[in-house]
């Protein structure tokens, strides 16, 4: 319920901001292993050093960070993961609000965006427009259990390495993020 509320807030924010291009708007990141406000503070300080983050809101009780991104800068999810791990904790979940510019997706569709590839795992045929919540299922970006579940839902091997392989028809080797809706 809470998740839905947050996503709804994210959606509203974006609709009001009304950018015409595809981009990351915000993300809700759940950090695991945190037990005190001092730990949350370490994560907060580490995340504040990322230039593409405009604003950080935190729910200390649940160790959830809501990040609002700058529309003008490239968002690198790996850096978010790196900063959290650097502070001594782990990522439990990343749900991002992404503004799509009419994109048709289906199972194992690879979407190239800002020089990275986003692999849709286990999704139905559909058109995505406006703000949609996407969930990262790469190793270290969700729980180990969820990651394993999604590995079983695709025949593509790139989910194991996070890099483009023979399975993905990309021209050069790229970072492949695995997402679901």
């Amino acid at each position: 319920m809470k998740t839905r509320k947050i996503i709804f807030t994210m959606l509203i924010t974006v609709l009001l901001s009304g950018s015409a291009f595809a981009n990351f708007v915000s993300a809700r990141v759940k950090v695991t292993g945190i037990t005190c406000s001092m730990c949350s503070n370490s994560v907060h300080k580490a995340l504040s050093s990322l230039s593409f983050i405009d604003k950080i809101d935190v729910n200390l009780e649940n160790a959830e960070f809501t990040l609002t991104f700058k529309a003008s800068e490239k968002v690198v999810m790996d850096l978010i993961k790196e900063k959290i791990e650097g502070a001594g904790f782990s990522v439990g979940e990343i749900i991002a609000a992404f503004k799509f510019d009419n994109l048709h997706v289906k199972k194992d569709f690879h979407y190239e965006f800002e020089n990275n590839v986003y692999h849709f795992v286990n999704v139905k045929d559909q058109d995505l427009k406006d703000v949609v919540a996407i969930r990262f299922v790469d190793k270290g970006m969700t729980s180990q259990k969820e990651y394993k579940k999604y590995v079983g839902l695709t025949t593509y091997t790139c989910i194991k390495t996070g890099k483009s392989a023979d399975c993905c028809n990309t021209a050069s080797k790229k970072r492949v993020y695995h997402i679901t809706l």
Partner: protein, 307 residues
């Protein structure tokens, strides 16, 4: 005092508050965040029948990566003489060397420089829970004599040490177990040909921590209050004193091998999610330490600088 503390401990356990692992008297398996600098001031005091004794340490910590941190510490105290007093060894009527009691010093001496690391080699994070294991190691330079069998790497002795730390947080209870070894180096005085040959020591601790306030985290400005109970033990070998090739007789119990376990209750305040103030005291539970006199009072202040 002890009863009140135990009551508070169980009261908080029953209430089911979140466990805390920022132990005042031992280190958790967690480390300083990557790139952050930690500064800690440590103070320990007690009184003897004639003297006020205190020990002070300043520690610098730095997180190199998410798994490795380094630390450096300097210490001072009025526990030691720079050299052994001339009257330290006497001859008895049988022409044997024995150790004469020394009057404890009152002036402060720069004691030691300690450098170390902590490496977190295992990490399993979950929702409000984690299990971590780390290895630690220290090397200490100290120039002064320590005329007691119980050795330490907190300023008393020159030597090396290391161990393993396991910290677990399950169902709102934080528990940490540390087991370590201390390998001290001998103290030798050329002019008097006196050598203090220390044996190894083993240190172990079991720490529990509880958050008592706030009941719910709302913002970083809330002061956190944590209660801790730490059981700290040490066992050490006898101190062998020699003068030239001769063994020196020691009558004092402080030169014999021993072991003890202390209970260290603490209350900790965390202000604005960064400034950490620990107030602790120590009582003997099983045997006692000959190096200090109970009760001990400790006050630590720690601050992180994020860059």
């Amino acid at each position: 005092m002890r009863r009140i503390f135990l009551f508070l401990l169980f009261a908080s356990l029953v209430k089911g508050s979140v466990g805390q692992e920022l132990f005042p008297n031992s280190e958790p398996a967690s480390i300083v965040p990557k790139g952050a600098i930690g500064l800690r001031l440590m103070n320990e005091a007690y009184t003897t029948s004639t003297n006020f004794k205190s020990w002070h340490g300043g520690m610098f910590m730095y997180g190199i990566s998410s798994k490795l941190m380094i630390n450096a510490m300097v210490t001072t105290s009025n526990h030691h003489y720079k050299e052994l007093p001339a009257s330290y060894i006497q001859k008895d009527v049988h022409d044997r060397y024995y150790i004469a009691p020394i009057v404890s010093p009152s002036s402060y001496l720069f004691e030691s420089v300690n450098v170390g690391f902590r490496y977190r080699f295992l990490n399993s994070d979950g929702d409000h829970r984690h299990f971590r294991m780390a290895l630690y190691g220290n090397g200490v330079y100290a120039a002064q004599p320590h005329d007691e069998a119980e050795v330490s790497l907190m300023g008393d002795n020159k030597g090396v040490g290391g161990g393993v730390i396991s910290t677990v947080l399950v169902h709102k209870l934080a528990v940490s177990l540390t087991a370590g070894i201390i390998k001290p180096f001998s103290y030798k005085e050329k002019s008097s040909a006196i050598a203090l040959n220390y044996g190894n020591a083993y240190n172990y601790s079991l720490s529990f921590g509880y958050l008592v306030y706030p009941f719910k985290y709302k913002n970083y400005k809330q002061t956190n209050i944590n209660l801790y109970a730490e059981f700290m033990g040490k066992s050490y070998e006898a101190l062998r004193v020699t003068k030239g090739d001769d063994a020196v007789i020691a009558y004092n119990d402080g030169y014999k091998k021993g072991n003890y376990v202390e209970l260290r209750p603490s209350v900790q305040f965390i202000i604005k999610s960064n400034l950490r103030i620990d107030c602790s005291t120590a009582f003997p539970l099983l045997n006692k330490s000959y190096v200090r006199k109970y009760p001990l009072y400790m006050l630590n202040i720690q601050y992180y600088i994020f860059r």
